[in-house]
């Protein structure tokens, strides 16, 4: 089969004219990276079985969470991270369970 796929930029849109570059908030932000602590080692990028994250274009900068909706919330990115507190897993609001002090029940 003759290859006709040349590169992404040519294929990305039919026409870039008239498009606004406006981002949209995702349904959830599962992986929160602390850019102060992150060393950009990409351990999280490499361990994620769903492949949510991609390396930053800038070497040493935090990876980009490119496909947040696909997160399975397993937490392996946190386990693998060599810097304590550089990465957090955060359940979406709809998945946060409630607890209460037992002594308050009556």
């Amino acid at each position: 089969m003759k290859s006709t796929i040349k590169n992404m930029s040519a294929k990305k849109r039919d026409s870039d004219e008239g498009w606004f570059n406006i981002a949209e908030m995702p349904a959830a932000n599962p992986v929160i990276i602390n850019s102060e602590k992150c060393t950009g080692c990409n351990s999280c990028v490499n361990i994620c079985q769903v492949d949510l994250l991609v390396p930053n274009v800038v070497k040493g900068a935090p990876p980009v969470v490119m496909f947040p909706g696909e997160c399975w919330y397993c937490g392996c990115c946190v386990v693998e991270c060599p810097v304590e507190g550089a990465i957090k897993l955060r359940h979406p609001l709809i998945n946060r369970a409630y607890w209460i002090a037992k002594e308050k029940l009556k």
Binding site: P55, C71, C74, W99, I100, A101, L105, K106
Partner: protein, 647 residues
């Protein structure tokens, strides 16, 4: 600043051909153990995995208990007793071969994993003196403390240990490659399997694998009825990318399946419906034995199978009087009287008695070791609890001695679903296997969640190793074959065609998945009507013949997601074909055919396969596998004699 379109080097359609003796398809628990066994047998092994083998698969991030380790030194029941109970509890609709392998070899695999560096016993004496601990072996048990056949394990250590072992044995691991099809001798379905094709999810590169033997170790299907476009990763219990690709490519290659008409009312996940598994109040699996209370602090009692209230905590972990052992675990939903263990009284009954909602899980009154083994070890080692539940709740201030965790559903499910929302859960359908764990296709072996009536970690590990040994034996006196060029070209055409469409006018993977799941809810819901099933099939055919050609993917990652949905479409078709072929309702298959009486007497398995788009089915006795120990020993002479040698 330059805007980059994709972070990885693109290699669309560029071919790479790799040859091996044994090809393992999928790097979860079953795949890793299969590759390890085949490599130990001296074969050259390649393992292909869509994610990252070190943590991939349903058990990659952890596992808190290992079921059916009937040969561990403390077990009071035999592999035969346990397998027969598992079969009987499902009126025979269970995989006698694979579960006997699980019961007979599961503990051997635990010992293997321990040698690789996994933690299977309380070496730090954290639970010294606890009722669930054997002081000599330091093994910890769950559920039935008298019969001791289910082990509490530190499963977060397992997958990295297997990964290191694979590397030590020289297995070539190819991560980030989705296997897309099986290659057959000269091309047609039904012929010997001689390899596979794949696509790299970051670069788009095309792979051709040539192998003497292949082992199917992929997941059970998912996202058939349940889909959320905003949070697709939370649609189902198993990982996002585990959608049953293996079932779909097996079907296209002519493999024979059974029990594919079985689905259960949804219990888990589906973004928005339930809470994180084992992250809300419940007293099942990970949380078994925990106390439940109502909103006034009144305890909800446990009762034995006869409804007698159990008034001491130790009674929650014992069989009833006159009962030898009870069954509990991942695939035991509503056991028969004979196997039923202690349970809290049903929610509905408690509400009728004046107990006030909501209910809560309360660990504060448990013996210290029981509290610590649930909150700390089990919640901490289970698949998705270490970080999102144990770490995050602890950091947010949850204290198991003070706080109680709210229950949302009626038991462990923490959610309410509509009747037409279904899932492949609790021993679902899959590849039919023989005593070599071979499929009907020569050269294709099968393990783990690809098998019909699969369930847990131990099942995946035990069947993986077993399939690895048998595939290695087959491979050792076979020759590799050249793939059929036309078959390879057709596959390339199939997988890359969406990239040629226009994004602004095309359909994406999420829209297609939503469409499929709506068809399945509408036409293949809880009650099966033949007329509706036929319309569902017509609509799926339209997706297959027309809509697929209108899809688009921006990059290799998105293309892999789209190819997964193509596989979900194929699996949906297998399910409807199977539903049409079962004429009567069947309780063990959770199958309701409109206006049909329930099957009486011993049911039969219906198998299904296709070749040249012609579908054939046959009936099979549920106990087609014959005597368990006799057949096992006949097919495993070398393994059995080696074990005796060590004994």
């Amino acid at each position: 600043m330059a805007i980059r379109d994709w972070p990885y080097q693109l290699e669309w359609e560029k071919e790479e051909t790799i040859e091996t003796d044994v090809l393992v398809l999928g790097g979860g628990i079953a795949g890793c153990m299969a590759a390890i066994a085949a490599a130990q047998s001296g074969q050259k092994v390649i393992l292909v995995e869509k994610g990252a083998t070190k943590r991939s698969g349903a058990g990659g991030s952890g596992c808190d208990h290992w079921e059916s380790a009937a040969t561990n030194p403390c077990s009071k029941i035999t592999p035969e007793e346990l397998t027969v109970a598992m079969l009987d509890d499902n009126d025979g609709f269970n995989n006698g071969i694979s579960h006997y392998i699980e019961c007979r070899e599961g503990y051997d695999r635990l010992l293997d994993i321990e040698k690789m560096g996994g933690k299977i016993r309380d070496t730090g004496d954290e639970f010294k003196g606890a009722a669930f601990r054997d002081e000599k072996t330091r093994l910890l048990f769950a559920y039935d403390y008298l019969n001791r056949y289910t082990l509490r394990v530190w499963g977060t250590t397992f997958k990295p240990a297997m990964y290191n072992e694979l590397k030590r044995l020289g297995v070539k691991i190819i991560d980030r490659v989705m296997v897309t099809s099986l290659l057959t001798r000269s091309g047609p379905a039904g012929n010997r399997i001689i390899g596979a094709t794949g696509i790299h999810s970051r670069t788009g590169r095309f792979y051709i694998f040539k192998a003497k033997a292949s082992i199917m170790c992929m997941s059970r299907p998912s996202r058939i009825w349940l889909f959320s476009a905003s949070l697709p990763g939370l649609c189902e219990f198993r990982p996002t990318q585990c959608v049953g690709d293996g079932h779909a490519m097996g079907w296209r290659a002519g493999a024979e399946f059974t029990m594919m008409e079985k689905s259960v009312g949804a219990e888990f996940s589906a973004s928005g419906r339930s809470y994180p598994p084992y992250g809300a109040g419940n007293n099942h699996n990970t949380w078994y034995g925990a106390t439940l209370i109502d909103s006034t602090g009144r305890e909800i009692p446990y009762a034995d199978r006869d409804g007698n209230i159990i008034d001491n905590i130790s009674g929650r972990f014992k069989p009833s009087s006159g009962q030898k052992f009870f069954l509990k675990g991942g695939s035991v939903d509503n056991p028969k009287y004979q196997y039923r263990g202690p349970e809290t009284l049903p929610f509905s009954e408690m509400i009728a008695k004046g107990y006030k909602l909501p209910f809560y899980t309360d660990l504060s009154g448990l013996p210290e070791s029981e509290r610590r083994v649930i909150w700390g070890m089990m919640v901490g080692e289970e698949g998705k609890t270490k970080i999102p539940v144990y770490k995050n709740y602890t950091e947010a201030g949850f204290d198991p001695e003070k706080h109680v965790l709210q229950c949302y559903g009626t038991g462990w499910t923490s959610a309410q679903f509509l009747p037409d929302e279904r899932q492949l859960f609790g021993l679902p359908g899959g590849f039919l296997n023989d005593w070599d764990l071979s499929t009907n296709l020569e050269g294709l072996f099968v393990a783990g969640d690809s098998l019909y009536a699969s369930n847990c970690y131990g099942h995946a590990a035990a069947t993986g190793h077993y399939a690895g040994r048998h595939a290695a034996e087959y491979s050792s006196d076979r020759e590799k074959m050249e793939p059929d060029k036309k078959q390879v070209m057709a596959e390339k055409e199939r997988i890359y065609s969406p990239v040629h469409n226009k994004p602004s006018t095309s359909i994406g993977w999420k829209e297609l998945n939503m469409g499929i799941s709506k068809i399945m809810k509408n036409y293949c819901g809880e009650v099966k009507h033949d007329e509706l099933l036929k319309i569902g099939l017509e609509q799926l055919a339209e997706y297959e013949n027309k809509i697929k050609s209108e899809t688009y993917a921006h990059n290799p990652h998105e293309l892999v997601r789209l190819l997964e949905v193509f596989d979900i479409l194929t699996v949906s078709e297998i399910i409807i074909h199977s539903c049409l072929r079962r004429k009567t309702s069947s309780k063990p298959l959770c199958f309701i055919k409109y206006n049909s009486p329930e099957e009486s007497g011993t049911g039969k398995l219906i198998t299904i396969r296709q070749e040249d788009n012609i579908i054939t089915t046959r009936e099979l006795n549920v106990d087609f596998f014959g005597d368990l120990s006799e057949n096992y020993e006949k097919h495993n002479k070398k393994y059995v004699s080696e074990k005796k040698g060590f004994g």
